[in-house]
């Protein structure tokens, strides 16, 4: 155990001093014994701090923790900020609600958890030791399988996707695209493909032109691809979740990736618990579509269990292999500035990814404002020496041909002599040729640009795209805000999860000497009952706590003690930190008492809100077999 810092002590005191008098003295009397009046509260707080700073006390508290305690502590640790009610609600699949409510409040009585403005926090004096007991499993399942290498929506996928739609000029998914993405099963591929299309469309990264062809905003694509795989997934999931809580969505996904990486796999209920917990932590709304969203982008895969997919963040791209058939292949992930996908057609995205460079793919790149020198330098610097010589020559020739013609805004065409001869002599083009401005410079009809382009192309002319910036500007105005914000928020570092995956099973270590001491102590029956109750609640750590006092009063009534039951119900009415655990003939309820009323026949009726739904019920006290007060909220 490390030395306790002053900060931890101060924090402890600070938290405790904010407790209500009732709870404060309940704790103080339990741990320090009788508190004589007049008292000095800061002095009592200091005594409590000293008490819990003692190594023997801490050892004892830790030894009394069991597996259920550790699971609750693990949840608190993962969630960072959670209140008792939520904690109970999240874990209720594992234990009954009443049991959980009782245990969460018990951990507070045992000063394992403290309350910080309604949220559960580790006792600062025990924090390090408690953290060491926390683990992701069994909180999130008990399976020990590892992550899978199932493909997901990676930056490499986005590159391949962009290359494909640039070539096709359409975004409608076709089954034959599976050939380009053999690692993806068809259903998954279609889902990712269409979802990505949808997202990129909404962000105006891709957009439909008037002729229904798809265009790509490469500035944005470049920005998007500046993210690594993990950040891209954060981006995509966050955009799907809630556009108004982008930052939270990104943090949620980042957190999730880190934890999934550690747990490898889990069953559906554990996954839901994890998602609920992290959603709560990030402050986003959880709903059942979240699993679909994560599955869609490939963060998780269902194969009986849910498997986390391995996100490859730091696998750099190998040197490009340029082969004689002009395919360029590599493995790993390209760096953010890579431009291959912009001037080559995707062949296969797999362990080894390959693209094919053709004059058509290259001219498409030039049309999209790629600069020849940039391509040339890229090939020279990223492939083995001599491999790319032939390819560079082929592209050089294509570039020279491409460069012979320029079309400004679909209206002014400057060209080489050969094209000039065609424009001047081809009869079919005359109606589109408005005027000859100068030698080899023509004023063309803008409205029929598609037609005269077709005529010239079929005559063997390689026509570049029209030089015009108008469309791009429009898009910038439309949506920069969300895209930029999302991009900024997604540039997030990986999270280090300092919680273990598994820990050894923790059993409570009982100390019979305390029970013996209680048995031997001279106490009244109510004092003994109260002490035994606190002992059973693991609140008695040392013999010095065995003093003749009643800290709790009567907290339980049952059987024929009708008045006792009524009394407990009446005491609990309106108290936010007291719940009633009711055993009825056929069920157990945990309620907050709202009112005790009587029928004309003088029968007591308890009006109560049933936790956690807070549905209001009226229950005749006579139907209650046992009433127990639960101090579920110590603050």
């Amino acid at each position: 155990m490390g030395q306790l810092t002053d900060y931890a002590k101060e924090k402890f005191k600070n938290l405790l001093s904010r407790y209500t008098e009732d709870n404060y003295f309940y704790i103080a009397r339990n741990y320090l014994g009788l508190i004589p009046t007049p008292f000095h509260k800061p002095a009592i707080t200091t005594r409590l701090c000293s008490f819990f700073s003692q190594q023997t006390i801490q050892e004892r508290i830790i030894s009394l923790l069991d597996e259920m305690d550790c699971t609750i502590l693990s949840l608190v640790s993962v969630s960072s900020s959670i209140d008792a009610q939520t904690c109970t609600a999240l874990l209720k699949g594992k234990w009954s609600y009443g049991t959980l409510l009782r245990r969460v409040s018990n951990l507070q009585e045992r000063m394992v958890l403290l309350n910080d403005e309604g949220k559960l926090v580790f006792n600062p004096l025990l924090e390090e030791r408690l953290k060491s007991l926390c683990s992701l499993k069994p909180l999130f399942g008990t399976e020990q399988n590892r992550q899978k290498s199932t493909p997901y929506c990676s930056t490499e996928f986005v590159r391949a996707y962009i290359s494909l739609i640039e070539k096709e000029k359409k975004v409608v998914f076709k089954d034959e695209y599976a050939l380009f993405f053999p690692a993806y099963n068809l259903e998954q591929l279609q889902l990712i493909f269409t979802s990505l299309t949808d997202t990129l469309n909404k962000l105006c990264i891709i957009y439909q032109q008037k002729d229904r062809k798809t265009s790509i905003n490469y500035t944005k694509v470049h920005q998007l691809l500046s993210l690594n795989d993990r950040q891209l997934l954060c981006f995509l999931v966050a955009f799907d979740l809630d556009e108004r809580a982008i930052k939270e969505g990104v943090q949620f996904t980042n957190n999730l990736i880190a934890i999934l990486e550690k747990i490898g796999c889990c069953d559906t209920s554990s996954l839901k618990l994890l998602l609920r917990t992290l959603a709560l932590k990030a402050g986003i709304r959880y709903d059942s579509s979240l699993i679909d969203c994560l599955s869609k982008w490939g963060l998780i895969t269902l194969d009986e269990l849910w498997y986390a997919n391995q996100i490859e963040e730091n696998v750099g791209r190998t040197t490009l292999v340029v082969d004689s058939d002009n395919t360029i292949s590599y493995s790993g992930s390209c760096c953010k500035d890579d431009i291959l996908y912009r001037f080559a057609d995707i062949c296969v995205l797999d362990r080894q990814t390959s693209y094919k460079v053709t004059p058509q793919s290259f001219t498409r790149g030039l049309d999209n404002l790629l600069v020849w020198e940039q391509v040339k330098t890229y090939l020279e610097h990223n492939s083995y020496p001599s491999m790319s010589i032939s390819l560079i020559k082929l592209l050089q020739i294509t570039y020279e041909r491409y460069h012979q013609i320029t079309i400004y805004d679909g209206i002014v065409l400057t060209c080489d002599d050969r094209t000039a001869r065609l424009i001047e002599n081809l009869e079919s083009i005359q109606e589109h040729h408005l005027q000859t401005i100068a030698a080899n410079v023509y004023l063309m009809r803008r409205s029929t640009e598609m037609l005269w382009r077709q005529i010239l192309t079929s005559s063997g002319v390689l026509l570049p795209s029209t030089i015009a910036d108008e469309q791009v500007e429009v898009i910038h105005r439309e949506d920069n805000f969300i895209f930029t914000l999302l991009l900024k928020e997604s540039t997030i570092e990986p999270l280090v999860v300092d919680i273990m995956e598994f820990s050894d099973e923790k059993h409570m270590d009982e100390d019979p000497s305390i029970a013996n001491a209680i048995e031997k102590a001279t106490l009244t029956s109510s004092q003994r009952q109260d002490l035994e109750h606190r002992y059973n609640a693991r609140m008695i750590l040392i013999e010095e706590q065995i003093v003749p006092q009643v800290v709790n009063g009567v907290i339980e009534a049952g059987g024929f003690d009708y008045q006792g039951k009524v009394g407990l119900c009446r005491q609990a009415v309106g108290k936010q930190n007291i719940a009633l655990q009711l055993q009825l003939t056929d069920q157990e309820l945990v309620v907050q008492a709202l009112e005790v009323a009587y029928t004309p026949q003088k029968e007591a009726l308890l009006k109560a809100a049933v936790m956690p739904t807070m549905e209001v019920k009226i229950i005749p006290v006579s139907k209650i077999f046992l009433v127990r007060q639960l101090r579920y909220h110590l603050c």
């Binding site: 053999p182 004689s324 491999m387």
Partner: protein, 553 residues
């Protein structure tokens, strides 16, 4: 990731880094259960397929071994789907077994499960060929052996054919120690390996298949080697009469067969002997469109112990059908380019037999068994007066105009001048164009209409150095051996035919003391460029890259 030479892809292709120190050892494993798909300079692509796995299974290579080898050589963990595929597909082999039956008219086909039986019976085209002989047993007429196998393969059930092929009548034959010129004759290692790969131990599952070797690498010798192993009556089917004569001359030059044992069966001469060489044309000739094929009987009734299909990628449709009936005969297909523009490569595998041996072109080039070749694409402009006609023409006419670009003649002249000491072939598609070129140089020309005797004479003159330039049409695309040719100038071709391009290059690949040059002259700014790009695909995949030269008019 580890330092291994192989990357196994999800689509069951395998990429071999040929520069890795273990590449050779890895390749030796892969060829037992994969097919070589392409072999450019740096990364060779192999593929697992049902056929390759069944072929491996039939030669005793089981799925455990395949998975083990793949995992051993793989740089990354092999995906479960690939391993599952191997186990699933390989396990189908042996589920349907073909054996001899008690009745000499029939074979017995046994299936291992009721499910397969039900499936076969529910397929009309299969059921009609089978007679139920037991719960899971059928009889099939011997005639249907090939057809049943073909249909079952299409269904995903390879037949474990345990019937040993029939040995034909014995004809003793051996290689000579020296050829007719007194030169020592040595068979090359890969030629021996190819024969071994095909014949194996001559047991069930052996003795038929396709051997893929580059042009100029000596496929004829591979065929002759198989003949010497089987020592039986042999029919060689090849593409044209000149090729028939070449086969005959090679056989007589390198084997101890006497001239009266080797016969020709062509349109001109029908003289079947113990070893007969014929053309596909004569087999598929018929006097009228709907009549029978009178010469196909040469295949079926010749008591052949071995049939060699030279340039098997040319196998015409009627021969496909007959080949299906010739399943009891040892047979070998030889080709350099098993690519068919009609996409029927698979049927070649099913009927003649699967690919048994394949070797990358650049490997033989490095070993000096084929000549080092430099490929060039020369782009020349159309003359201005043809630009408008070209612009107005339809696609086919455009191609023709571009192919016959008159400015190509200037390029040819310059290229001929560039290679004064070489033997040059000028190859084209269009006779008018070739005649113009021939006239410009005052050169002889060989086309489809040139009589065979004249062709032989011109080939002889070229071989013996009397002419060092020969203008040829597509008749010289295949199977013509002109050992000294070192330059080929292609002025036009059959649209985007990949095999034609490769075969034309093949004419200059015989090893010699100089490098070979292949020039493809295409018209710039025309659709001939696109077709040229397609034509070059096969060679590019074999590691040949084209240097592009823009011709200054």
């Amino acid at each position: 990731m580890n330092d291994k030479p192989l990357i196994v892809q999800s689509d069951k292709t395998m990429l071999l880094d040929v520069h890795h120190e273990s590449a050779e050892a890895c390749r030796a494993d892969l060829v037992r259960f994969c097919e070589l798909i392409k072999s450019p300079e740096h990364v060779h692509t192999y593929a697992l397929s049902a056929i390759s796995l069944w072929n491996a299974a039939s030669s005793g290579v089981n799925s455990e071994y395949i998975c083990d080898r793949i995992q051993f050589w793989s740089r990354f963990p092999v995906s479960d789907s690939v391993l599952y595929y191997i186990n699933d597909i390989a396990s189908r082999f042996g589920k349907v077994v073909l054996t001899e039956s008690d009745d000499p008219m029939y074979y017995k086909l046994e299936v291992k499960t009721d499910r397969i039986r039900t499936e076969l019976m529910s397929r009309k085209n299969i059921a009609k060929m089978m007679i139920v002989n037991g719960v899971r047993s059928f009889l099939i007429e011997k005639y249907y052996r090939g057809e049943v196998k073909l249909q079952l393969i299409k269904l995903g059930y390879p037949v474990d054919d345990r019937i040993v092929l029939e040995r034909g009548p014995t004809v003793p034959m051996q290689f000579k120690k020296t050829n007719s010129k007194g030169e020592k004759f040595v068979i090359r290692p890969y030629q021996v390996q190819a024969g071994q790969a095909l014949l194996g131990d001559l047991g069930p599952g052996c003795g038929y298949g396709t051997i893929v070797l580059p042009c100029g690498s000596g496929k004829t010798v591979v065929g002759m080697n198989i003949m010497t192993q089987l020592q039986t009556r042999t029919l060689v089917v090849t593409t044209n009469v000149a090729a028939v004569h070449q086969w005959m001359s090679e056989i007589l030059d390198k084997m101890d067969l006497q001239p009266d044992q080797v016969g020709e069966y062509t349109g001109e001469r029908k003289d079947p002997r113990e070893v007969t060489v014929c053309t596909y044309q004569v087999l598929t000739y018929r006097p009228d469109k709907d009549g029978p094929f009178p010469h196909l009987e040469l295949l079926t009734k010749g008591e052949w112990g071995l049939i060699i299909y030279d340039e098997v990628h040319m196998l015409p449709a009627p021969v496909f059908k007959i080949t299906a009936e010739l399943q009891a005969v040892y047979r070998v297909g030889l080709t350099a380019t098993l690519v068919r523009e009609d996409g029927r490569e698979d049927e070649v595998f099913s009927l003649v037999g699967p690919k048994r041996f394949d070797v990358p072109w650049n490997e033989l080039q490095q070993q000096g068994f084929i000549a080092e070749a430099y490929c060039n694409e020369i782009r020349v402009d159309l003359p201005p007066d043809l630009e408008i006609p070209y612009a107005l023409a339809n696609k086919r006419e455009k191609y023709r105009l571009a192919s016959e670009n008159p400015l190509k003649l200037d390029v040819v002249k310059a290229l001929v001048a560039r290679h004064p000491d070489d033997f040059i072939l000028i190859i084209g598609q269009y006779i008018n164009q070739l005649e113009t070129i021939a006239a410009a140089f005052n050169l002889p020309i060989i086309t489809g209409s040139t009589p065979n005797a004249k062709r032989e004479e011109l080939y002889r003159a070229f071989k013996e150095g009397e002419n060092h330039i020969l203008v040829v049409s597509k008749v010289a695309n295949f199977a013509i051996d002109l050992p000294d040719a070192s330059v080929a100038i292609q002025v036009s071709g059959t649209f985007g035919s990949r095999s034609e391009e490769a075969q034309r290059l093949g004419r200059i690949l015989r090893p010699k003391n100089r490098s070979s040059f292949f020039y493809s002259v295409v018209t710039r700014y025309s659709n001939e460029e696109e077709f040229a790009a397609n034509r070059q695909k096969f060679l590019a995949e074999q590691g040949y890259s084209y240097e592009i030269e823009v011709w200054a008019n």
